[in-house]
């Protein structure tokens, strides 16, 4: 045991810098940002900024207010067409007829207003319906008759274009001589709301509605699901045909609206109206990051894409380049967008898995010596050698054990059951209740209901009639958190205050239960203590940024809880009542191992299980976050340097943090590891999360009648 011989070292400057860097630079946010869905927009957004910067630099009055108004008026029309295209693309289709449909909308508007003399209020819905009908025809052909989207909409493109051309031939003359005069119409075409052009306002309204539908409503989710995998969506019972048809119809309606706005702005119809619009809209949609394969897209992406395309086409025109260069720039941009889209999709998860794990700087204090001759309370001994074994091979992963007033022994297992062993010999058992997940810490409340922390699920209650009910599985989301930390991932251990409040630990918010080694590798303050108040039924986070908080125990004074932080090797006290309420005090900081559950002992002291022991080589690595990060990337988790969880012990300490004694089993053959212990009527019962047994050992000097349930709540 080298702890005492290890030379004192000075902290070199480099280490100080590393400490500061890892303290103030939030590495973990990079990975968390990458894990968000909206991060897909980062690349298109960067392109947008580049485009703005480039043309802003090349064209002197690019940002002049007058020009901005014109551009945003155009954007109102173009953006609607892009959203129309996006609506179809996310269900895995394509709509080439947007340009012709747009022209049809434009023509219908002018014809109805100028020739038929209809009022604007009647024209708007009719135009939208006419173009929606074209979309509906597309939808029926593609959705119900299963024709190819590309060919079908190509045909519609040609036919609608031909119809518009024929109509123009017949009516263009009459339309051009008549003029529709109306204030409302002028407001739509030339005016705006508070200086913002009407068409842009319409776009914003449509975009907001579209965004809500797409991200927060069933039809939107269904459209996404169908685009992601048509076959799976069908198998799970979604109406694939209806949804596809609907999205084409909506696309058509949006084109009509756009055509109407165009008509209001220019008031004229020509054969070139909407010519090439489908290519521009397609470019915009793909450039924004909407996947052509379907299932991945958003309104925001469509808008970003439309701004980019519009700025580029306008910019090229204003630069005075010759006529072919506009489409050329557009084509090259489309090529670039498809390339980036493919690479991003392929590599995003790889990148995420590389950067998500972000170890931080940890300097653990010198551990107390465990040398048999050291004279410390941690000195190795063999007091657990004669552990009696309960349920060998019949119980798997009993993380916590607990006994009730009638001496029944309860434990969880990895199948999601809570088992009950029968006294006095604990040779027979039954499944007391099935919860699911991984039952971990347990506690009895005043009414002798069993509260259980379930890894992966939350806090659950088993009533005395064995009915299982959820107590809580979410807490308030922390402000400014990138990942959603409102759901409980790893509720670990709990205890109940005299007033009924339940305090429980959540070991980590960044990883699932079986990824605990990754959290150990990070050793960041990823965990928290959460409080559930049965009086209000509300759950809130009491303490944040704890390093794998694990065991929780109500102190004997009833005003504070003791909690263990495993990877920090320390035990602290958190005041929940009284004058110091809300304060945290460190109790023990130099544990030679990783503390797990804490429970009361009969004489007013506390038991804590050390689930594993510190190894000096890992302690060195904890001061080198970069080393640990590279280790996580380069070698398989099986080969990582782990906390040594193959040996553990039980330690007793008092309210002042003084360690009184420790109980060891050196060979570890009888009872390999310990995550929890409960004292009950002169015995100490031992649980271990990677064990296939429960142990118990006689405590000669303890109160032979003491039971925790009675000590907490009085006689039942």
């Amino acid at each position: 045991m080298a702890s005492s011989e290890t030379p004192a070292r000075e902290i070199p400057l480099r280490e100080t810098l590393a400490r500061l860097r890892y303290r103030y630079f939030p590495d973990h946010l990079v990975g968390e940002l990458l894990s968000k869905k909206w991060i897909d927009n980062a690349v298109p957004f960067a392109v947008l900024l580049c485009v703005i910067a480039t043309f802003g630099f090349l064209i002197p009055d690019f940002f002049a207010p007058k020009l901005l108004v014109i551009t945003s008026r155009q954007l109102g029309e173009f953006g609607l067409v892009c959203i129309a295209m996006m609506t179809v693309i996310i269900v895995g289709g394509i709509d080439l007829s947007v340009g012709s449909n747009f022209a049809l909308g434009n023509f219908t508007t002018l014809a109805l207003l100028n020739l038929a003399g209809w009022p604007v209020a009647a024209v708007v819905p009719v135009v939208i319906l006419v173009c929606g009908a074209v979309g509906f025809v597309n939808g029926v052909l593609v959705g119900f008759f299963r024709l190819r989207a590309f060919l079908t909409t190509l045909v519609t493109l040609i036919i609608v274009r031909a119809v518009v051309d024929m109509l123009l031939l017949r009516y263009a003359q009459e339309m051009s001589v008549s003029f529709y005069d109306s204030d409302i119409w002028d407001l739509v075409g030339m005016g705006g709301v508070a200086g913002v052009p009407s068409s842009f306002v319409v776009l914003i309204v449509v975009a907001l509605i579209g965004h809500v539908i797409l991200t927060r409503s069933r039809p939107g989710w269904r459209a996404m699901a169908i685009g992601g995998s048509r076959r799976s969506a069908h198998n799970m019972g979604l109406s694939v045909r209806g949804t596809v048809c609907g999205s084409y119809t909506i696309s058509g309606m949006l084109c009509g609206l756009s055509g109407l706005l165009y008509a209001a702005r220019l008031g004229g119809a020509g054969t070139d109206t909407g010519m090439g619009l489908e290519i521009a809209a397609l470019t915009a949609a793909v450039l924004g990051g909407n996947s052509l394969g379907g299932g991945r897209g958003s309104v925001v992406k469509a808008l970003i894409g439309s701004v980019i395309v519009l700025l580029m086409t306008n910019g090229v025109i204003r630069l005075g380049l010759n006529s072919g260069s506009g489409p050329m720039v557009l084509g090259l941009t489309l090529l670039f967008a498809v390339f980036v889209d493919v690479r991003w999709l392929k590599n995003r998860d790889k990148l995420l898995s590389k950067v998500y794990v972000s170890p931080t700087y940890v300097k653990l204090p010198q551990p107390a010596s465990t040398d048999p001759d050291s004279g410390t309370p941690f000195a190795l001994n063999n007091r657990l050698r004669n552990v009696e074994i309960i349920g060998l091979g019949e119980v798997e992963s009993p993380e916590d054990v607990i006994l009730d007033d009638e001496d029944y022994l309860f434990c969880g297992n990895r199948h999601g059951d809570v088992l009950r062993f029968f006294p006095p010999d604990y040779k027979t058992w039954e499944v007391y209740a099935h919860i699911g997940g991984s039952p971990l810490g347990m506690a009895f409340d005043r009414d002798r209901n069993l509260l259980v922390c379930v890894g992966g699920m939350g806090l659950y209650k088993i009533a005395r009639d064995r009915t299982v009910s959820k107590v809580t599985d979410e807490t308030n989301r922390s402000p400014f958190s990138v990942i959603d930390d409102s759901r409980l991932r790893l509720a670990d251990d709990l205890d109940i205050a005299p007033d009924g409040r339940v305090f429980f630990s959540e070991a980590t918010i960044r990883y699932e239960m079986h990824d605990w080694p990754v959290d150990a590798l990070e050793s960041r303050g990823n965990g928290r203590i959460i409080c559930y108040d049965p009086r209000t039924g509300r759950t809130h986070t009491a303490l944040r940024n704890l390093i794998f908080p694990n065991g929780i125990c109500l102190a004997n004074d009833g005003q504070s809880i003791l909690f263990a932080e495993s990877w920090a090797c320390r035990i602290s006290r958190y005041w929940i009542d009284g004058p110091k309420a809300g304060k945290v005090e460190r109790l023990i900081e130099d544990l030679p191992g990783y503390p797990d559950n804490i429970n009361r002992a009969s004489d007013g002291t506390y038991w804590v299980a050390l689930l594993g022991m510190r190894s000096p080589a890992l302690d060195v690595a904890l001061r080198m976050p970069g080393f640990r990060r590279r280790m996580a990337r380069r070698i398989a988790p099986d080969q990582w340097l782990y906390p040594n969880l193959n040996t553990g012990c039980v330690v007793r300490f008092d309210d002042t943090g003084r360690v009184i004694e420790s109980l060891w089993d050196l060979g570890g053959l009888n009872h390999p590891m310990i995550t929890s212990m409960r004292e009950h009527r002169g015995w100490l019962y031992l649980g271990g999360i990677s064990n296939n047994r429960i142990g118990r050992v006689r405590l000669e000097n303890a109160d032979q009648n003491w039971s925790a349930a009675t000590a907490y709540w009085g006689k039942a």
């Binding site: 190894s615 060195v620 070698i635 340097l641 064990n691």
Partner: protein
């Protein structure tokens, strides 16, 4: 320039020279429990170098040379006690034998029991002698593991990338010493071939190399071993027995590419708890533990990553592995430093397991 660029790119991405791949135990090296479960063994404190001569089987243990008695269950008999812990020994065809220790240098004992010190004539005392072999009665070949670290510090030599090992030839008649090769990564086994060439086990290179009688490098004969090779002896079938004293692991390969961590660890941590190969492991909970070695339901998986392992490999005349005997993760007979075959029985010194193990090779020693 390009190579330097590629080197730093490799380090950034963990490719090429920075890859931490370890050859799998496969084919003839497929793991078994033959070594672990062999029924006959003699318990001795840290047996190291076992040799076979006219007097029978002799091996070193601490400061003593012991002879194995043929009778079953008989205690080995002490033949010689040297000045300090013996690091290597060799038997000459004539029956005289050489014993090396850091304290006493190389001492030659003839059959009459007289002894004389070798190599003092050159004025240069050799320490850290890891292996010896007689080319003939008057020529002794000597491996010096490292000139920078003592032999007990072999882990430090490995972690600091030691390449200060050398191979020497002593003419016993004239007392003349010649260095045949230098700059080796801990040569740890040596064998003279009938044609005068010499095969050397270079531990840190994880390979066997061949040099000519005059020291000319003739290239490697076996490369990329899954462990660190120790001594080499002849088999009855014209091949060789290669002892492998510790396994390679991805973690250690990775740490070899992390100088900052390596240096901090060597400066602060007791060598017994280093992340380094070892002759035995699992003694203390302060030793580093790797993920796969976490016991589940009370069981350590035999394929768990481990710092120590027991492995003897039989090579044929072309240095192709033919078969192997293992003591896997969690086993006792780890840290095999030498092996020698006698009448269909392979005697193996498990330095980490404090045993000399007898492996029955079958009636004729064949598979």
């Amino acid at each position: 320039m390009l190579a330097a660029l590629r080197g730093s790119l490799d380090r950034l991405l963990g490719r090429g020279t920075a890859a931490v791949t370890v050859p799998p135990l496969d084919g003839a090296l497929k793991p078994n429990n033959l070594l672990e479960n062999a029924p006959h063994a003699v318990g001795v404190q840290e047996p190291d170098n076992i040799v076979l001569g006219r007097q029978g089987l002799m091996f070193s243990s601490g400061e003593r040379v012991l002879r194995l008695e043929p009778a079953v269950g008989a205690e080995p008999v002490t033949v010689i006690t040297a000045a300090g812990p013996i690091t290597a020994m060799a038997l000459a065809p004539s029956g005289s034998f050489a014993v090396a220790s850091d304290a006493g240098g190389i001492v030659l004992f003839d059959e009459g029991g007289r002894n004389r010190t070798v190599g003092s004539g050159s004025g240069k005392a050799l320490s850290c002698v890891t292996a010896m072999g007689f080319a003939d009665d008057r020529t002794l070949l000597v491996c010096v593991g490292s000139t920078e670290n003592a032999i007990g510090d072999w882990q430090r030599d490995l972690l600091s990338g030691g390449r200060s090992g050398s191979v020497w030839r002593f003419d016993l008649a004239s007392g003349e010493a010649t260095q045949l090769a230098g700059g080796l990564g801990f040569p740890n086994g040596i064998l003279a071939e009938p044609d005068g060439q010499i095969v050397i086990c270079e531990s840190w290179g994880k390979r066997l190399v061949r040099i000519g009688a005059s020291g000319r490098a003739n290239g490697p004969v076996l490369e990329d071993l899954p462990g660190y090779p120790a001594r080499l002896s002849r088999s009855a079938r014209g091949g060789y027995w290669l002892s492998v004293f510790a396994p390679r692991s991805q973690l250690i390969e990775f740490i070899m590419r992390e100088p900052a961590y390596r240096n901090a660890m060597m400066a602060e941590v007791d060598p017994a708890y280093w992340v380094a190969p070892a002759l035995r492991s699992g003694v203390s909970f302060r030793e580093p533990m790797q993920g796969g070695a976490l016991k589940q339901m009370g069981i350590l998986k035999p394929w768990a990553p481990t710092r120590s392992y027991g492995l003897v490999i039989e090579l044929d005349g072309n240095f192709e592995a033919v078969r192997s005997m293992h003591s896997r993760a969690g086993g006792r007979r780890h840290g095999v430093t030498s092996a020698v075959e006698q009448d269909g029985v392979l005697w193996v010194t498990s330095k980490g397991g404090d045993q000399v193990v007898a492996l029955d090779l079958g009636t004729d020693g064949a598979k």
